[in-house]
Point group: C2
Chain length 352, copies 2
């Protein structure tokens, strides 16, 4: 059991039973709502009930998947809370991956101008990514996370017990963010990761904790993404565009698969715009391809992908904003390049 303390809430890593029961005992909520999807209802909700004293609560079920992270699902959640006469003293428990954490948090933060919520991430991705940093929101007009806000949860409970309920593809998706944390800030973590061959034999806590420590350091210095927090966007400018694009295709990618491809492209850009060596770029590309395989990014997708990148929240004054690497373990923010170079990076990836 490890507790990571942030300014006004704690992240508990390990068995949630003790700390969650203590949290509930010390609170006096008028009602408790648990948000689940069909998967977390089946695999995670029973574990939650077994370990806690959550006698009276209401379950709000939404459909799983990024395609449901939208304003219609928010209306469904708000309506359920309204119908149950939820007042301002209720607690919302988000039991699920990033979609539930981001959207359930957004709904809680805007219901009657804000009620308390806690995050119980159930995927490796949400363990190391959305569980920390207080970004809440939904997708809108085909752009990921384009509507939302920043607000801290009351607590986060990260328990590896839930990882056992996940398919391997979901584990791979989460690993991409851990890789990112290593590449932007912790060469030692990256060296540890690149020795992993078998994802079924990993002691996840030993990767989750350093990964959270990196993210904590960054978001505490820069909660609203004015500067250093942008390092966390490495791989995400191109990765988000690929993810949005794939979402509309017949073969959607997981977030991590898209970000993995984005990291390869942006590693290439780092050799063009910054001084990252070709050898370092190859080290990254070859590990990522070993774990993730390759997504087919054809030339005819390029204009769509560029359009999506231009609509990215991270941009300012019409320029596409990138985070790049100066070496493995060190990132630099607010980088720009020619559109041609972005296309070159996609060609580089396609030719690997």
């Amino acid at each position: 059991m490890k507790t990571i303390a942030l300014a006004d809430y704690n992240i508990h890593v390990g068995d949630f039973q003790g700390p969650l029961n203590l949290f509930l005992e010390q609170s006096a909520y008028s009602q408790i709502f648990i948000i689940v999807d069909e998967n977390t209802r089946e695999y995670c909700y029973p574990i939650l009930l077994e370990k806690t004293n959550l006698e009276n609560h209401s379950l709000i079920e939404i459909r799983s998947g990024e395609q449901h992270k939208n304003i219609h699902t928010c209306s469904h959640i708000w309506k359920k809370m309204m119908d149950a006469k939820a007042d301002r003293k209720v607690l919302v428990i988000n039991l699920g991956g990033g979609v539930i954490g981001d959207m359930g948090g957004f709904c809680a933060a805007t219901y009657k101008r804000g009620v308390d919520f806690i995050q119980i991430p159930t995927t490796l991705l949400s363990d190391v990514d959305s569980s920390i940093g207080s970004k809440l929101g939904i997708d809108f007009a085909d752009v990921k996370n384009s509507i939302g806000l920043f607000k801290n949860p009351k607590a986060v409970f990260i328990d590896p017990v839930f990882l056992k309920t996940l398919p391997l593809r979901e584990i791979r998706s989460g690993l991409a963010e851990i890789i990112k944390h290593g590449l932007i800030a912790d060469k030692k973590l990256w060296d540890e990761i690149k020795d992993i061959d078998n994802l079924q034999e990993v002691d996840w806590n030993s990767l989750i904790i350093p990964s959270l420590e990196i993210k904590k350091r960054v978001v505490e210095i820069d909660p609203y993404e004015q500067n250093i927090r942008k390092t966390l966007n490495f791989g995400h400018t191109i990765g988000h565009a690929i993810e949005s694009w794939a979402l509309q295709s017949t073969a959607p990618l997981t977030h991590g698969e898209a970000i993995a491809a984005g990291m390869v492209c942006e590693t290439y850009l780092s050799t063009e715009v910054r001084n990252l060596s070709d050898a370092e770029a190859e080290e990254v590309a070859s590990y990522i391809l070993k774990i993730y395989g390759k997504y087919s990014v054809k030339n005819e997708y390029f204009s769509d992908l560029l359009r999506l990148m231009k609509n990215d929240k991270k941009n300012a004054n019409g320029q596409i904003n990138f985070t790049m690497l100066d070496c493995l373990g060190s990132a630099v923010i607010d980088q720009h390049c020619e559109e041609k170079q972005v296309e070159d990076s996609l060609i580089y990836y396609a030719k690997l």
Copy 2:
């Protein structure tokens, strides 16, 4: 020209030309969006353009009226911003009454997790009410302001020039909030108001400024409505219910008309639950009836009205929460009463 300084923004009361141009010169926004409705586009937008150097900007027009203060209109606003490739460095100018201020502010506060906005209220109601206090939001599931958040604008510009564009009914609507400020916190202000017979001959700044000073004092002590800010809810528990009810009828009321009726009812409750004298209650009722006339609240509406009150944000633990008066100029929060007494207050109003 008077400037009221809050912790992190200023409210300028008087001619906006100087302070708004200065604000714009000192900023470096990538784009400017002005939100208007068909009325403020016709009557207020030309005044804004004439007095400022707003050369490049995009206009977003929405339909006027509380019935459009909903998530569909938000989607329209977000979509317009997205289509214009608005990044995080844009400014949103909300040029209108409370609907535009609350909803435009909510859209700005959630677009790409938050962009800057300023409020230029154009009605007396928004001058003294929504312009200060940072409550943003929309109506949802027939409940007013049930989705929203707290966020400060970058600045507020209150200029009486816009009041000349308003019909008398809108002026009366705003006066209700000034009456409320007097009743809850400033006997002197109340005494001044109750001498007003002709609403067309009022020096509004002399009422707006003390009214804003009262609201400022309250929201600075208690920004998130944990305690003293609830005094501002006087008249609003029953008033909101009447307003929501009327909104669905063929004869909708303005916010102020509904709150005026609510204040009469809650003044009656203050004589029942607190020690307000019958003479004081009569003084309030007779002035309000003189200005607002009487809305027909029939017995058969009572169950609907009670249902709406029970769904009010201000409630906790299933009890309807009221702010009441101990005397004219002094309010007390978190008061409760029997449902029967609420009905009695409606009967009292109906029989006046």
